[in-house]
């Protein structure tokens, strides 16, 4: 009875929302700020990837907030899980192929991760995507050797300093008399690797932070495997 009601209500809400959404002019968005940003982004941020301009320029504080959320959830997970470590050493290791595959892939994934981070202002991708790949790179060996442990101390160092450097770059702009998180050092080299001023630096911070954050989250989860 209750479940049927729930189902019907969910369906009803879905249809209602659909009816509302069908009033939208799909495929021809008003793009009030979108058009403006497209027009001004190259001059104001120097990044070829306009999404990057938005993420690190126009809406940089959103990005800061989102980093903080990741950080908050990592810290909270630390609070929740960190009380008693149940070592997972008893688990069996992966086979030879898994282990050596993990070791082999590690440098490759690191490279790809950093490549994506560094080209975030030019091509699709960026700090988040690259950071996730970095985290995956660290995660692979953990899967292969469940007994192994990540170095939490250095991870938290990276976490802290990467996040801090994002803010410090923003504050540095204030020292220069500009606004907080205002892009600086914009050269007229649109489309090249060294362009877009401080944006790649921000993305590097984001990438490191995301990587460290996710890696520490995942390793915590794996280390606190629930007992029977």
């Amino acid at each position: 009875m209750g479940s049927l009601t729930g189902l019907l209500f969910a369906g009803g809400l879905g249809f209602m929302l659909l009816a509302v959404a069908s009033g939208l002019d799909f495929g021809a968005p008003p793009m009030l700020i979108g058009t403006e940003i497209q027009a001004h982004a190259p001059q104001q941020t120097g990044a070829a990837n306009i999404v990057t301009s938005v993420v690190l320029g126009y809406r940089a504080i959103d990005t800061l907030g989102e980093l903080s959320i990741l950080f908050a959830s990592a810290v909270s997970a630390g609070l929740v899980l960190g009380r008693r470590h149940t070592t997972a050493g008893t688990q069996t290791k992966g086979g030879f192929i898994l282990q050596s595959g993990g070791s082999l892939l590690f440098p490759l994934m690191m490279t790809i991760g950093f490549y994506i981070i560094f080209h975030g202002h030019l091509t699709p991708g960026g700090g988040f995507q690259g950071g996730v790949i970095l985290a995956a790179a660290f995660f692979l060996p953990l899967l292969a050797r469940p007994g192994a442990r990540l170095h939490h101390k250095s991870l938290s160092l990276i976490e802290g300093f990467a996040g801090a450097s994002f803010i410090l770059i923003g504050l540095f702009a204030m020292l220069e008399g500009k606004a907080f998180l205002q892009p600086m050092l914009i050269q007229d080299t649109l489309g090249q690797l060294v362009s877009a001023g401080t944006l790649p630096l921000l993305y590097l911070a984001v990438g490191l932070k995301v990587g460290a954050e996710l890696a520490s989250l995942l390793s915590r989860l794996i280390q606190t495997e629930a007992p029977q």
């Binding site: 209750g2 209500f9 969910a10 809400l13 209602m16 929302l17």
Partner: protein
């Protein structure tokens, strides 16, 4: 800044509070506070021009908060009520000093809290009486409510529970007034007193009804009007003795003050009369009158059943409030004067009665009417005080209660309201019967063995009681003294003024001259005494040197029947007022409890996501469709 006379009074009263608060633990604190009450009385008497000639004296303190101007001032109405307030506080406080205070401390009472609470009550009442606009009226009202709560609750135990009950009623009343205030503010955009009149002019019938119900109900709670009367008797009775005297004398009259100010002065009786109860022949004014009459009858007969002297008196206090409202609602010259005079008279005899009972408790340790008796030989002066008090309460000559009740009856007859008159007379009958129970069970009949060595109440308690008795008699003899103040009050609230003389009132339909009445009465007494002393010779014997039903008496035989007093009458009428609206209170309590249980279930058994889904669905459906 020049201090006005009102400022002086309020400062004096505030100073009393501070003295009680900070040095109330000291030895002579009670005396000091009493002297300060005397000072307040003097400060009030400096404003006597209000009582005799009318006019207003404003306080120099004004405030403006959130666009609302607050002001305070005194007029004849305030002055009259303030006189009773301070007078009863002075005498109650005097009564509490010395012997009573020591015994209270011995029994573990906190005398500091008691004095502070009394002083706080007086202070807040003066603030209420001084209110110069509706907002300050409401502020004063709430302050008085909470101050009263403090005084009622401080004894703890049963008293605290009674006080809890009181504060729930008082909050409900306060919120009704708050709602009424909001309605007036909406209609006229202001909370000055004149705003009420303008608001009333504009309002439609339904809104006006609502307003009358809100204000009448709100103020009525404090007066103990039916059906909001249940809280009052236990709350007043369980307060420490002098506190009972003070509360019983004046506290619930604050409700009458507010009714006089808002409903009579600002609304106008005419306006109230114009509100018809749908489908019947009566109007709002008749409704009020009938509520008043039922407030007279039911609590009075409930009082008759009480076995605790304090509770008995407290129930009567509720009933007597009905006479005051009845007089005021009839609103002709005699009725208005009678109602207001009864405020004064009631304060005097109620205080005296509570004090006498407290004196008995002080000596015997009980106020249980079934455990007392025969004290007249041990405490003759207290007996006299109680006798004078109950004559006043019953409304018999030569005491002051007679005058005010006579005026009310006269006005009922003059205005052609025989049914109301009849009902009021039934109430008086009940009063007479029950006060006889009071004096009989305490003072008459058999002296109990354990009370053999009881002595008269100490002078610190006796003097205030005697002063009150004197006032009761003198204002009974010369009602013109208070009537002079009441004339200004009536003028202030816009009611007609009777022709009064020192001995009573004069009117075409019937005059009363108490000096003459009492003269005749005393002549009669004299004749009686002459007959008594000349005809028979009485002989004083020990109470056991006697016989009943053919048997000689011994100490273990009870020949005073105080249990199941008025058994026949109770059997006859007991059925139809049993419970007396208790069912209403219980019903509301149970309803709230039931709803509360449901709400907790709502939160505890929550499938929160389901709530969210449902709400989202319904609100969106509501706006989309």
């Amino acid at each position: 800044m020049m201090l006005t006379l009102l400022d002086e009074l309020l400062l004096f009263s505030g100073a009393t509070l501070l003295v009680a608060l900070f040095i109330g633990r000291g030895l002579a604190a009670g005396w000091m506070v009493t002297i300060l009450y005397g000072g307040q009385l003097l400060a009030l008497l400096k404003m006597a021009v209000l009582g005799y000639e009318g006019g207003t004296i404003a306080s120099s303190l004004t405030l403006e908060v959130m666009g609302q101007a607050l002001s305070w001032r005194f007029d004849a109405l305030s002055w009259f009520f303030a006189l009773i307030t301070i007078g009863s506080a002075l005498l109650s406080s005097w009564f509490s000093c010395g012997a009573w205070e020591r015994s209270y401390i011995r029994q573990g009472g906190n005398i500091w809290l008691f004095h502070t609470a009394m002083a706080l009550n007086v202070f807040t009442m003066l603030i209420l009486l001084a209110s110069g606009d509706l907002l300050s009226l409401f502020i004063g009202w709430e302050l008085v409510s909470w101050a009263g709560f403090l005084l009622m609750a401080l004894a703890g135990g049963v008293a605290a529970r009674a006080a809890m009950r009181y504060i729930t009623y008082a909050m409900a009343g306060g919120m009704a007034i708050f709602g009424g205030l909001a309605l007036i503010y909406t209609a006229s955009g202001s909370l000055q007193l004149e705003a009420v009149t303008t608001a009333v002019e504009q309002m439609s019938g339904a809104k006006l009804w609502l307003l009358v119900i809100l204000f009448g109900g709100g103020f009525g709670v404090k007066m103990g009007l039916m059906p909001f009367h249940l809280w009052q008797a236990p709350a007043y009775a369980e307060t420490p003795g002098p506190g009972s005297a003070f509360l019983g004398a004046i506290s619930s009259r604050m409700g009458l003050f507010a009714i006089l100010l808002v409903l009579v002065k600002l609304f106008g009786i005419v306006k109230i009369e114009s509100l018809k109860v749908p489908f019947t022949l009566i109007d709002a004014r008749d409704l009020l009158a009938w509520i008043a009459v039922f407030t007279i009858i039911l609590p009075t007969f409930t009082a008759m059943k009480q076995n605790d002297a304090r509770h008995l008196l407290a129930w009567h206090g509720i009933g007597q409030g009905g006479y005051m409202l009845l007089g005021v609602v009839v609103a002709d010259a005699m009725g208005g004067a009678g109602g207001l005079l009864h405020v004064f008279n009631h304060a005097t005899y109620q205080a005296a009665l509570f004090m006498a009972v407290t004196a008995v408790i002080y000596r015997t340790g009980t106020s249980d009417l079934n455990k007392l008796g025969g004290l007249v030989v041990r405490m003759p002066l207290s007996f006299v005080v109680l006798l004078i008090g109950i004559i006043g309460l019953a409304g018999l000559p030569p005491m002051n209660g007679f005058v005010s009740k006579w005026l009310v009856y006269r006005s009922l007859l003059n205005q052609g309201m025989p049914l109301l008159f009849l009902a009021a007379v039934i109430g008086t009958l009940g009063t007479i019967l029950s006060v006889y129970k009071l004096i009989h069970n305490i003072f008459l009949g058999q002296l109990r063995v354990e009370h053999e060595h009881v002595s008269e109440a100490p002078w610190s308690m006796m003097i205030p009681m005697l002063i009150l008795s004197a006032i009761i008699f003198i204002t009974g003899l010369m009602p013109g003294i208070p009537l002079e103040w009441i004339a200004s009050v009536l003028q202030t609230v816009g009611l007609p003024v009777p022709d009064y003389t020192l001995g009573g009132v004069e009117s075409s339909s019937g005059s009363l001259d108490m000096i003459w009445v009492i003269g005749v009465l005393f002549a009669g007494f004299g004749v009686g005494a002459l007959v008594f002393y000349s005809a028979g010779r009485s002989k004083r014997v020990h109470q056991l040197d006697n016989y009943a039903g053919g048997h000689f008496l011994s100490a273990d035989v009870r020949y005073q029947y105080s249990d199941n007093f008025y058994a026949g009458l109770m059997h006859l009428i007991g059925g139809w007022y049993r419970g007396s609206f208790l069912w209403l209170e219980r019903g509301i309590t149970s309803l709230v409890e039931f709803l509360s249980l449901g709400m907790q279930g709502l939160y505890r058994r929550a499938n929160a996501e389901f709530y969210l889904l449902t709400t989202a669905l319904f609100v969106i459906a509501w706006v989309v469709i």
